[in-house]
Symmetry: C2
Subunit: 325 residues, 2 copies
């Protein structure tokens, strides 16, 4: 089968179409005929680290497709349309998916749309509710509102918690889009000082929850934007990882909970539990049109280098999809 | 009545015995004839900030004494021996205590011993269990093991969770004492690299929980000492507050939960709930001799300046007590 591997650590030019053997499944796994895969920042990190760090030489952590073969311990029937997280191997014609991570694709959604759901919606769900403990009528600050996780988080915060959503982004186009998804307030971080705008919008109290994909460059501004007893979830380092001149007193005096997280390295059991909770609470809302996958751009399988380049330049609003078939 | 106030922001010499009017109570409060008060670092911070920052001009956040008068909404009888947190005003002959924070003193304990309990045991209880979620057989790293909260935390972690306790301190005398309280491993931070010792003692896994009174100077070493998915509770800044050159990637990749906390500024309701939970879970263990208050030294009321000086020089093992009567 055709699949994308990494030649050596480096830029998008290191991505290579190759011929690989079709994977074999264990009794609790499904073999998926992949129709669409999606690009994630974790794939870019894997590409930069190079093939020697990859457990699975084929990139890609989420797919949508058709069940081609079912393990003896599974109940999902061959032919079912499913989407879900995979342990690498997503950029390929066939991929292995643990059966307890397979989510049935609603009839109304295409494979391209379905591939835009698992990673970002599961991450946003986990971050907002499992780690962030978001409650009704609280205020959440979602940075990088136009990103894949940002667009998912805005929708989930509104639909599942009726929260007030403040979002930051770097263009008016992205902010308008965030507001069309339900964001209450949009702040252009290139033109405004976001912490001042957050305090204005919260009667100088700050927000109960921050979803932080930025890290170091926003750290002091996030400290200023958060309310006493606030929760702050660190899920990305787009603004760097090296902290300098941070005053821990504020973290202590405001009784802040700062939690780091990454979804991809978590255990199989964790991903299965998260998938189960998400299916119960959020999947019905896709059927009802209250949640929607946000597809930025669809690339053909051979154009994977272009797909990576687009994500690295932060041009996308929502998910970048790779059409396998 | 006699009470200690602060003349102006500064050192221990700013503490002054003064004549103050006896406080009046509301219907849900108790008037306590104070027998013993205890010194806390928050008192030192208050002294340094000076009188204009004090809600109550009299220092002191915890006392042990006898109920002199009961508000109409309370059930605690006059004459009862109680201990508990107060909203300032502890260094005085009489103090006001919200009735829902009063803990009955076990018969076997003196007032001096009782005054050594509330702040440090409630803080350690809250930090280990409410914030730190310590479970049976986990490993906890308790810094400043000889401090008031340290000595309480070692005992509570052993008695309530049967945890493995690793502690740091700056002298062999303090470490020996910590081990007499149940600490499994003692590390002299002046002679050893504590993070290396922690990793050795945990099969290179790190600890599930850190109680951090130190802050900035230990930050990178704590990052190295904590296990994936570990909890790290920041409750003091003895090692400074200014962070420099911290790599956030570690916090994210290890999925660390870093929580800041301070007990004194929390709400009355919070303190009442915490007191209630502590009385249920921990007070019986004082009766059974499984937990004991650690009294470092007892000063007479007039020697309050000496008491502060002793705490500021970190000489104490356990609590410094002020004998009021």
């Amino acid at each position: 089968m055709k699949a994308i591997v990494v030649k050596q650590p480096g830029g998008a030019e290191q991505l290579k179409m190759s011929e690989q053997s079709k994977p074999e499944i264990k009794q609790d796994e499904l073999l998926i005929r992949v129709k669409s895969a999606a690009i994630n920042r974790t794939d870019i990190i894997s590409r930069k680290r190079g093939p020697s760090y990859l457990h699975n030489p084929i990139l890609g952590v989420e797919v949508a497709g058709i069940v081609e073969e079912s393990g003896s311990n599974t109940t999902t029937e061959v032919g079912t349309r499913v989407m879900g997280l995979v342990n690498g191997g997503g950029y390929a014609e066939y991929a292995v998916m643990p059966a307890n991570r397979a989510m049935i694709i609603p009839d109304k959604l295409s494979f391209d749309e379905a591939a835009a759901i698992p990673e970002v919606f599961l991450t946003a769900f986990q971050t907002l509710f499992w780690l962030g403990d978001l409650h009704k009528n609280e205020t959440v600050l979602v940075h990088a509102g136009g990103s894949g996780v940002g667009t998912a988080a805005i929708q989930l915060a509104k639909q599942l918690a009726d929260a007030k959503v403040i979002t930051t982004a770097g263009s008016q186009e992205k902010l308008n889009f965030c507001q069309s998804l339900g964001a209450d307030i949009g702040i252009n971080y290139k033109e405004q000082s976001f912490e001042e705008e957050v305090l204005k919008a919260t009667n100088n109290q700050g927000v109960e929850l921050i979803l932080d994909f930025i890290g170091a460059s926003y750290f002091n501004k996030n400290l200023a934007s958060i309310k006493t007893d606030g929760r702050w979830i660190l899920i990305g380092l787009l603004g760097g990882s090296q902290l300098k001149n941070i005053n821990l007193m504020e973290l202590m005096a405001k009784r802040i909970q700062l939690k780091g997280t990454l979804l991809t390295p978590r255990t199989d059991d964790y991903k299965a539990e998260l998938t189960k909770a998400f299916v119960q609470k959020a999947m019905p809302l896709f059927e009802q049109n209250k949640l929607k996958p946000i597809v930025d751009k669809i690339y053909s399988f051979g154009d994977v280098q272009k797909a990576h380049t687009r994500m690295e330049s932060n041009q996308n609003i929502g998910k970048i999809i790779l059409k396998i078939d």
